[in-house]
Amino acid sequence: MIDAAGNSVGNGAAKRESVLQRRTSLTELLDLPTFTDLLKGFVELYKVGVKVFDESGAKLADFRVGNGDFCSYVFSFPEGRARCTATVARVKDGPLDAVQGARPLEGQDPGIPSSMFAVPCFTGLRYLVMPIRWEGDLLGRVIFGPFTPDDLAELPVSLTEIGRGFDAANAQGLLARIRRAPEGTVAKVMAHFAQLVETLVTAGQKTYLTSQLHIEATLETNRELEEQNRRLETMNARLKELDRLKSSFLATVSHKLRTPLTSIMGYSEMLSQGLAGPINDEQSEYVQTILDKSEALLKLISSILDISQIEAGKVRLTFEPVDIAEVIRSSLTSVAPQAQKRGIVLQLSVPERQIRGTADREKLRQTVVNLLANAVKFTPERGKVTIALTEIAGQPELKADGYRISVEDTGVGIPREHHDHIFQSFYQVDSSSTREFGGAGLGLSIVKSFVEGHGGCVSVQSEVGRGSRFTIVLPTTPPAPHSVEIAPPAKASADRNRF
C-alpha cells in the first residue's frame, strides 16, 4: 500500500508494483548513438533537417542542412530574431495540434499519420511536426525542416518587412541552398521515418521489459532458493540435535545394561564353579549357556557403547610403542575358542623381525579382534581364516612408512554393491529379519573409526562365495603422535539401504 506521500504503509505483505507497470521514456527505449546514425543517414539522403525532442523538451538529436546561412542572415535583424525565436518555440514547445499558427497538412494522403501537421515560418519556409506516441503516451516529437515549399513563388512580406536594409536578392540566393520540395513529399518521408522510429521503440520496449522482467524473475527465484535453504538449515540443525540425543541415549542405556549383566555373569560363574553347592551336569550345561549368551550380549553392548562414544566424539586414542605381532597374537586368543568350536583353521603369518609401531594398544587389539570375529562368523565350518602382518615399508595410501594387517577368510563374501556401505554403523549386507548371521552391524564401523584415528585406512576385497579380505594399513607413527579424538563415522542412510 502506498499513502498520499508515496510511502509504503502496508501492514504485512505490501502489494508490489510490477516493473511491467513502470513508464519508460524515449531515452530508455532508443539507443541514442545508433538512432543518431540513422538520422544522419536520413538527413544526407533527403537533405532536410531533422530534430527529435523527448516528452520533457530535451533535445535528443538535431541535424541541420542548407538553412544555416539563410537563417543567420534573417537572425541578424532584431525583428527577424524575434520572429525566428517565436517560430522555433512554436515548433519545439507548442501544442501538438494544428493550432496556434500551425495548420493541418495539405491534401489527405491515407499513408500519412493524421497527427502530423505543418508550421509555416514567417520566411516562407516550412516545418512539419509529428508527435511520437507509444500506447497513448506522448514520448516526444519529431520536427522536419525547415524546407522550401515548392509552391513558394516569392519572398513573403513577413520576411521582407523585418528591417531596413533587408537584401531580398541576397536572401533569395541563400534560400536556394535550402531543399525545395512539395509538402506532400516531405510528409511521406516523415511518415517513413515515423515507421522506423516505431520499429525502434517497439524493439526497445520489448528489450527493456524482457530484461527487467528477467532480472525480477531471477531475483524471485533467488528469494525462493534462499527460503528453501533456510528451511533446510533449520531441518539440518534439528536432525543433528536428534542424532546427538540418540548417541547420548545409546551410551546411557548401554552403560546401564552392563551393570546388571555383570552381576548375572558373576553369579552364573559362581554357580558353575559350585560355590553355592554342587550342581549336576545338566544344570552346569544350562549355566554355561547363560554365561555364553551373556558374553555375547556384553560384547554387543560394548560395541554399542563404543560406537555411541565415537559418534559423540568422546573417544580418545592414547598412543604408545607397541609390538604389533604381539597384539595380533593376543587378538587371536579371543576368537580361538569360537573358531575351534566350528572347526575353522586360524593361520598366522608375521615377519620374523619384531614389528614395532606407535598405536593405541587396546584399540588396535579391538580392531583386529573385530576383523577376526567377523571372518570367523561369516566362514562356514572347516573353513580357514588367515591373518598376516607385513614388514614396515612405504605405504602409497598413506604417503608414509607403515605396515599392513590383512584378515582373509573363505567365507560367504560380500557383493560388490555393499562394499561402500559396510563400514557405516548399523549397516547389514543382509538386513532381513531372518538373516543367518547375527550382530548389530557395528564391528566394521568401529574398525574404520579406530584405523582412521591412527591415520590409517581400511579396505575390502571380496568375491561372493569365495571369501573376503580386509586390509588395514597403519602408519608406523600416527600423524598426531600423542593422542587424538576420533571423528564420528559416516552413517548408513535409510534410502541407500533399502533398494
Binding site: K15, K206, L213
Partner: protein, 262 residues
C-alpha cells in the same frame, strides 16, 4: 492499479482508502492491469492475439510477445488498450499473459504483481483437469505472495477449447460455476468465440473492484458504462453476444453483473 491525480486537494478520501494509490500532480492517468493466467497451452496468448485482431488500432498498441523457439511464451505477452476520458484522464488497460510452463513459476509470480483482475484460462479437456486445479491453486498462492487478496481481486474463468473432443460437458461447467463466485465463460479462443465476452467480464469486474476501492466515478469522473463503452465501441463485436446488447445500447447491460448475462 495506479491512479495519478492532478489536483493536490482532491486526495481527501484516497489516502485513507485500502487502494494502492500513487498520487501525483503531474500526470492524470489510470492504469489497470489484467493478467491472463492458466496452465501451459490453455490459450492465454491466443486470447490476446484475438483481442488484438478485433480491437481498432486507435485504442490498442502493439501486441508484444516474447516467445521461445517452439512458440511457447517465454516471459509474457502484453497488449495495451487505452483511451482518454472526457475529463482528460488517460486510461490504460494492460493485458498480460503469464508463461504457462511449469519452470516459469517465478516469472508467473512477477507478472502477476499488482494485478487488478485475472482471467483464468482453463483447458476444457478432461485430461487437463488436474493441471487446471494445480494452476488455480498456484494462482492463489502467487496472489498471496504478491500481497494480493484472493478474496478481493476479481477472477473470471474461461473454459477454452470447447470445440475439442473429450471436453467437460455443460453440466460439469455449470458445476464449476456453482462452486465459486467467479463468472465462467465458455470459449473457443482460436475462433474468437468467448474471447471478447471474457475480456468484457474481466474488465467489468476490474472496474467495479477499483471503483469500490477508489471511487473512480467520484475522483476521475469515469463510470462503468463509459469505461466499457470507450473500449468496446472500438471492438469488432460481430458474432459475439455483446454485439446485440451494445448495438441496442441497452442501459441494463451495464447494470447487471456479468454472472447474470447469458
Amino acid at each position: 492499479m495506479k491512479i495519478e491525480l492532478a489536483p493536490a486537494g482532491s486526495d481527501d478520501s484516497l489516502a485513507g482508502s485500502q487502494a494502492h494509490l500513487q498520487l501525483s500532480q503531474a500526470q492524470r492517468e489510470l492504469t489497470v492491469k489484467v493478467v491472463y493466467y492458466g496452465p501451459g497451452l490453455s490459450g492465454k496468448t491466443t486470447n490476446l492475439q484475438m483481442i488484438h485482431k478485433k480491437l481498432q488500432p486507435e485504442v490498442r498498441g502493439r501486441l508484444l510477445t516474447v516467445e521461445t523457439r517452439d512458440d511457447r511464451t517465454l516471459f509474457f505477452d502484453l497488449l495495451p488498450v487505452f483511451f482518454s476520458t472526457a475529463g482528460g484522464y488517460r486510461v490504460k488497460v494492460k493485458l498480460f499473459t503469464v508463461p504457462g510452463q511449469i519452470i516459469h513459476n517465478a516469472t508467473r509470480r512477477v507478472v502477476l504483481q499488482g494485478a487488478d483482475a485475472v482471467a483464468f484460462i482453463a483447458d476444457s479437456q478432461r485430461s487437463a483437469t488436474e493441471d487446471n486445479n494445480t494452476y488455480w491453486k498456484d494462482l492463489h498462492e502467487d496472489m498471496l505472495e504478491n500481497g494480493l487478496d484472493p478474496q478481493e481481486i476479481p477472477v473470471v474463468i474461461q473454459f477454452n477449447k470447447r470445440d475439442l473432443p473429450d471436453t467437460k460437458g455443460e453440466a460439469e461447467i455449470e458445476e464449476t460455476r456453482r462452486r465459486g463466485k467467479e463468472p465462467v465463460i465458455s470459449a473457443v479462443a482460436i475462433r474468437g468465440e468467448g474471447v471478447l465476452e471474457t475480456l468484457f467480464a474481466v474488465l467489468q469486474l476490474a472496474y467495479r473492484q477499483l471503483d469500490a476501492r477508489s471511487q473512480l466515478s467520484k475522483h476521475i469522473g469515469l463510470d462503468e458504462r463509459t469505461f466499457l463503452t470507450q473500449i468496446f465501441s472500438h471492438v469488432d463485436l460481430v458474432g459475439t453476444n455483446l454485439q446485440q446488447e451494445m448495438s441496442l445500447d441497452s442501459p441494463g447491460m451495464f447494470n447487471r453483473s456479468v454472472g447474470e448475462r447469458k
